[in-house]
């Protein structure tokens, strides 16, 4: 076991094994050479999410960090075309000048994985396709990639999509790029759809301890016509061995009562609209007599930024697991997790983030089985010292594996791009 652990742990690579192509042509030439000499390579952007997925060992690394820069930004056409290695921070700063944003809320794994806020690059966000709390309303990364350019496993430069939202010309390969963890194409260019920043942002907080009530409130809110764009529940923390109990510390805000659990519902839009919808929501949810607080714009933004950067788990050395399920199954699953793990619920009951101390592979597999049984899937986002290596970080079934293998072959016949990063044999 010890040797296996060692083999599968990322090891130090000397700088000669890393190549830094500075344009698409160089990426293509590099990969052509690797293809000819059968050399597997690891693709990297800024490395902010490098540890997500299975750990791989490749003779060479291709860093796309020098493919940096905004190629074209047309605010009135609602798109921005960037080189794949451009940092999300830079893109968002540029968009902000025109009061626009990447509406899917790029997730910030920096704090969790490297102890420092880091959204990574455009290519990295596409490769992982993990989106923030607004996902259930506006879609994820995959719904906002209009087109891309990249280099496949043979070194051929390919493209798909364009700069317009309505496009059915040929297969939608942009979707396939999203969540492929660099196993199909080395991305060189990405075009994102952009949208206006909301004028106003407010959050209704309901202090209630029962998970059933919380999920019922989230469901009612999301199913209402109030256009909810955030719906989370942080359960009151009973002590979980090995996990830091930190709701109060994480969400220290002037207008937020420190009273254990938090059910939070976000509304965004024009000022009048948000005010009107908050009133409607309080009426629809019938919470006027419950213990509620309201976060105004500034505090509301801080609150959701903390969620986007998974601050709840900051400095955790434990395993972090992401579970996606149909909302109707959330309560059942939460019962199984309560008191054993530290967790919170996002996307109105569709997403559970879980921290597990001293997780064993058996425990992990047993959680996975339950999740799959309830129609969902899970991903091991962060490994801990206790369980440094899990064979199947992602979830897949047999038929999908065969199809995925075929897709892989069509892009990367010699399996040289991030081999085994997602599944053994892909």
């Amino acid at each position: 076991m010890f040797t296996e652990k060692k083999i599968n742990f990322p090891t130090y690579q000397d700088s000669n094994s890393i190549e830094y192509p500075s344009n698409e042509k160089e990426v293509s030439n590099s990969i052509k050479n690797f293809y000819k000499s059968n050399i597997p390579i690891e693709l990297l952007g800024s490395g902010s999410k490098k540890t997500i997925g299975r750990s791989i060992q490749c003779a060479k690394t291709l860093s796309l960090s020098k493919l940096d820069g905004i190629i074209e930004y047309l605010p009135e056409e609602l798109y921005i075309k960037v080189k794949a290695g451009t940092s999300i921070r830079k893109i968002e700063e540029e968009l902000k000048k025109n009061n626009q944003q990447l509406i899917f809320e790029p997730i910030d794994f920096g704090t969790l994985l490297n102890n420092k806020s880091d959204f990574g690059t455009a290519g990295g966000q596409v490769a992982c396709n993990i989106s923030g709390p607004r996902r259930f309303k506006v879609g994820s990364v995959r719904d906002h990639v209009l087109g891309f350019k990249g280099v496949n496993g043979k070194g051929e430069i390919i493209k798909s999509g364009g700069v317009v939202v309505k496009n059915v010309t040929g297969y939608d390969l942009s979707k396939l790029m999203c969540g492929s963890y660099g196993t199909l194409v080395a991305l060189t260019e990405v075009t994102f759809k952009v949208l206006p920043i909301f004028e106003e942002n407010k959050t209704l907080i309901i202090h209630n301890h029962k998970i059933e009530t919380a999920l019922d409130l989230l469901d009612k809110a999301v199913s209402s016509s109030n256009d909810v764009s955030g719906a989370v529940f942080f359960p009151k923390e009973s002590k979980v061995h090995g996990c830091l109990m930190n709701i109060e510390k994480t969400f220290k805000l002037n207008d937020l009562k420190q009273d254990g659990s938090i059910t939070a519902i976000r509304l965004e839009g024009s000022k009048n609209s948000v005010d009107q919808r908050i009133k409607n929501l309080i009426k629809d949810l019938n919470v006027v007599n419950l213990d509620i607080s309201l976060l105004e714009s500034h505090q509301s933004k801080i609150f959701w930024n903390k969620i986007k950067s998974l601050e709840f788990f900051s400095s955790s050395k434990n395993n972090i697991i992401r579970i996606v399920i149909p909302p109707s199954e959330c309560v059942k699953l939460a019962y199984l997790l309560s008191n054993r793990f530290k967790y919170y619920i996002d996307w109105g009951g569709s997403l559970i983030w879980l921290e597990a101390f001293e997780l064993t592979e058996e425990m992990f597999e047993s959680i996975r089985k339950k999740v799959v049984k309830h129609g969902g899937y899970l991903t091991m986002i962060k490994n801990s010292n206790y369980l440094p290596y899990v064979e199947d970080v992602f979830t897949i079934n047999k038929e999908r594996f065969v199809i995925s293998q075929n897709i892989k072959k069509s892009f990367d016949p010699k399996r040289i791009l991030n081999p085994d990063k997602m599944y053994t044999g892909i």
């Binding site: 009135e76 309505k166 469901d219 909302p327 199809i403």
Partner: protein, 493 residues
């Protein structure tokens, strides 16, 4: 189309007999007269009777039919409601037409997970009808929604008039059950958001029946907005209208729908449904705004201001839901209204960056003179999707050929200004030869390779989407535009 397998056609009786062993005999049609209704889809300029038509009743039967055809190397063309406008379900002389018309039930209405599970033959509109009692709806609304099937919507990634704000089919789809050519049944997605691993759901959405047959669909449903109003705005020139569209978006407003029509179509549709359109205007916008009551009022005021700044000649706001639907009725009847003006019309479907609208409309005007064919323009202005309707008379010699050339020139121009060949109708047979305007050889070969791995013998809807050259594109020879073209003189067919 791909080379016709004459030997197979000679074996027709045997094939039909085998199919009748897989499904009940009455669900297999093979007589000439029975085949005629299936010889075309929404692109009626092309006609071809299939070898036979099959109506499977469940997924298991679809799987067995495909496995049989795969073993016997028989081509299969899947068909939903047959309303497609690009010839995507045009039959093949040596192929089976697999109709999903019997898959017509809604399986599950799941309000808790905000989704509907339906068989692929269910019409788009009946999904909304099934959930409107609780004020929910299914967002993508192609104009053919009364007839088109949800399975066909997935295959074509259909859009509609609300795509800018609410997305197209791909953004509103949670899961599908599909059958691959070898008979493998697979579930992609489910009732969760996204799925892990490769986004196969995203890949098959809009794959035009080339990769698999869809046997079940799970779509997201949304709660209706508290208030919705539409504004009809007339403009003295197309330029003013086009500029207004850009200004509305640039001001940070994302309307639920924003449609534009030119003078020819304003008159045609107003004659057709008496929608109260501004007949004196050269261009008309329908802008739909939704949200809370106050928000809609606010937005209407903002939009009105922008319109006035752009010289609008009239603004009419819907006063009731009935009136709002009437505003839309004209737009949704644009195609049939065009049919009233001319014996035949040919509908194009390019998407362009919104800012290029005036440019493109001017070019269409120039081409209209050049080809001496009148044209009416409908435009999903919000998302840049343009539908020029070229009017012609199929009885006149060479007129279809001339019309197709005209259409191709429009699409080439769309690509030239940064747009794409098709926004929602699909490539089908109609635009496949134009694919090289947008993609180079590498791009096309990559897409063909995906098909080759999922449908090894290329039996599922072959001859659609990808260009066919002598010896066929699958063998690696595709006409290449702009880049060095090795065989410029090879005739294309």
């Amino acid at each position: 189309m791909p080379k016709i397998d004459r030997k197979l056609i000679a074996k027709k009786n045997k094939v039909v007999a085998s199919l009748k062993k897989i499904i009940i005999a009455e669900n297999v049609l093979d007589h000439e007269d029975q085949l005629r209704p299936f010889e075309t889809d929404g692109l009626s300029a092309y006609k071809q009777k299939p070898l036979a038509v099959v109506f499977p009743e469940n997924t298991e039967q679809v799987s067995r039919i495909l496995a049989y055809c795969n073993d016997e190397k028989i081509k299969v063309v899947p068909r939903g409601a047959g309303t497609g406008l690009s010839g995507g379900s045009l039959p093949l002389e040596d192929g089976i037409l697999l109709c999903l018309g019997k898959f017509n039930k809604i399986i599950d209405i799941d309000y808790r997970n905000r989704c509907v599970v339906a068989q692929p033959g269910v019409t788009n509109l009946s999904i909304t009808k099934a959930v409107e009692e609780k004020d929910f709806y299914y967002a993508p609304d192609p104009s053919s929604q009364i007839a088109c099937s949800i399975g066909g919507n997935v295959a074509e990634n259909s859009g509609g008039v609300h795509s800018l704000k609410y997305g197209t089919t791909t953004n509103n789809l949670l899961g599908v059950e599909v059958v691959f050519m070898d008979g493998t049944i697979s579930r992609l997605g489910g009732k969760t958001y996204d799925s892990e691993g490769y986004d196969l759901l995203g890949l098959i959405t809009g794959s035009e029946g080339l990769l698999c047959v869809i046997t079940e669909v799970t779509v997201k449903i949304l709660k209706k907005a508290q208030a919705v109003k539409a504004a009809l705005i007339g403009f003295p020139t197309i330029e003013d209208g086009g500029k207004c569209v850009s200004d509305i978006i640039a001001s940070g407003i994302i309307p639920a729908g924003m449609e534009m029509m030119d003078k020819a179509l304003i008159h045609a549709t107003d004659n057709f449904v008496k929608a109260g359109y501004p007949r004196d205007a050269d261009a008309m916008l329908i802008v739909e705004l939704d949200g809370t009551e106050k928000e809609v009022e606010e937005l209407i005021e903002k939009v009105s201001k922008i319109c006035k700044k752009n010289n609008s000649s009239s603004i009419k706001i819907s006063k009731s839901e009935k009136e709002r639907l009437k505003f839309w009725a004209g737009r949704k009847a644009a195609f049939p209204a065009c049919g009233d003006m001319s014996p035949d019309y040919y509908c194009m479907d390019g998407t362009i960056p919104r800012g290029k609208l005036v440019d493109v409309l001017k070019e269409i005007g120039r081409l209209s003179k050049k080809y001496n064919l009148p044209v009416a323009n409908a435009f999903h202005a919000g998302d840049g999707n343009l539908h020029p309707l070229i009017m012609y008379d199929a009885n006149q010699k060479d007129s279809l050929e001339k019309t197709e050339k005209f259409g191709a020139d429009i699409l080439k121009y769309c690509v030239k200004v940064g747009g794409v060949l098709t926004g929602e109708h699909g490539v089908g047979v109609e635009k496949r030869e134009l694919m090289c305007e947008m993609f180079n050889n590498n791009d096309i070969q990559q897409q063909i390779k995906i098909k080759k791995y999922l449908d090894v013998s290329s039996l599922l809807n072959p001859g659609k989407v990808y260009p066919i050259l002598r010896k066929c594109a699958e063998e690696g020879r595709v006409h290449v535009h702009r880049e060095k073209n090795k065989f410029p003189n090879i005739p294309r067919f």
